[in-house]
Symmetry: C2
Subunit: 256 residues, 2 copies
């Protein structure tokens, strides 16, 4: 069973302040937790029901420092979900190096102040599907370790490297050598007819404001996802994660 202090610690991790302080985050549910364990993300605590333990016994489980079997009422106390999952992991926030050779030679997604946790989680899933290994986020982007983001990634977070960094600095590091910087704008070129390379930054803007002016000036390729029929009045915009998926699909289809 969990102690009062452990329950207090785990509950506090719903807030960014305490996640930063303890360098811990939580993930709930069998698939998400096992994906994180398999990817090598270090668990500080693993809390589960008896039923869950009975169906999951591997070496990964034995290597975890604090394994705590508990009952449904305690799982309910620490869960942020409507229906608590049979397992909750408290994981150490990983640190990793960026492979700048990989960044220079492949596609990365760059997020300019994305605010909605569901959008960030969905974009991580899209990156994973389309084999994009690196996501860079402006410092004002929603926190990756927000439990809503972690849940929305459906485990994709275990395969993606996501870093917070000032975007201008990032671009200045890579923009030599005509490194392409892509962004979507209403006045951009129809994406279906654009020259799309298999390397570069794909910048996705804030839900309300789009790509900020400070960043727009670095965009070398302005793209546009055309609405249909052309010229007819439709929705003013697509949701940012929807736009991101269409763009990623369009880049990858060129390689078929």
């Amino acid at each position: 069973m969990l102690s009062k202090n452990q329950i207090k610690l785990i509950s506090s991790l719903q807030k960014k302040k305490y996640r930063d302080q303890h360098q811990l985050f939580i993930a709930e549910g069998d698939k998400l937790v096992t994906d994180l364990l398999h990817s090598g993300t270090k668990a500080a605590y693993l809390i589960y029901s008896k039923d869950w333990k009975n169906q999951y016994t591997t070496a990964h489980l034995n290597s975890i420092e604090n394994r705590i079997e508990t009952d449904n009422s305690q799982l309910k106390k620490i869960s942020a979900l409507k229906n608590p999952a049979p397992v909750l992991g408290v994981f150490k926030i990983p640190s990793f190096d960026i492979d700048s050779k990989l960044v220079s030679s492949s596609l990365s997604i760059v997020l300019d102040d994305i605010q909605d946790p569901g959008n960030l989680g969905t974009i991580i899933r899209i990156a994973d599907w389309f084999g994009i290994k690196n996501i860079f986020c402006s410092p004002n982007t929603v926190d990756l370790y927000n439990p809503k983001v972690i849940q929305a990634t459906m485990g994709a977070i275990s395969r993606i490297k996501l870093t917070y960094t000032p975007i201008e600095q990032l671009i200045n590091k890579y923009k030599a050598d005509n490194f392409p910087i892509y962004g979507t704008f209403l006045e951009g070129e129809t994406i279906y007819q654009s020259d799309l390379q298999s390397k570069g930054f794909i910048i996705m803007g804030n839900e309300g404001k789009g790509i900020s002016e400070d960043i727009e000036k670095y965009v070398s390729h302005k793209l546009f996802i055309p609405n249909f029929p052309i010229g007819e009045s439709t929705s003013e915009s697509l949701n940012v994660s929807v736009a991101c998926s269409i763009i990623c699909s369009e880049f990858r289809r060129r390689e078929f």
Copy 2:
């Protein structure tokens, strides 16, 4: 100001039972409400702050039976949003005929038990962007008039005809004449290389279960959105609204 009975009626419309009983639904926010008014959707009540009225005076406003100016505390009482909008419309659920000639000659989206209000709202926005006029939903699909769906459409609902109907019946009506029925499956043909026509049904399946077996047997074109690099282990699936956007984009790019 609103009467107690009016507040009670409006609050009750958060529930499907009362929306069905009164044939009314609510929409909040300037853009959504004005889009609905402009599209000809009939408002039963329009409730707004003084500030909102001062910036919005058109013929549309004058034709509304019950216009009620109120204050922020009443707006807060009837709002389902964290931050109540300055205007809330109570609209009559519209009834309309389906133009079967249009359905036979164009693309429609068919939803097989979509459960998440955000997904349905996003799919309506995608349909609007890509000029798809008709959406058909299985009877078990989440209710269009759920306030979360209405808000997520961002006004696109005013330009789309959405109907609830048993899918088998719908397919049987149109499937003569080799009418194409598209659906995504892991064993489908790569969508980038598929023959895609400018007419047919695009079936999108339930979030957890995908397209049901009863419907799968009618699918004439099984499609697949390839992950990248091919054969590498990535996310198990894409979110249904993300998949829908990639498919719609792929159909429309053939017409450029």
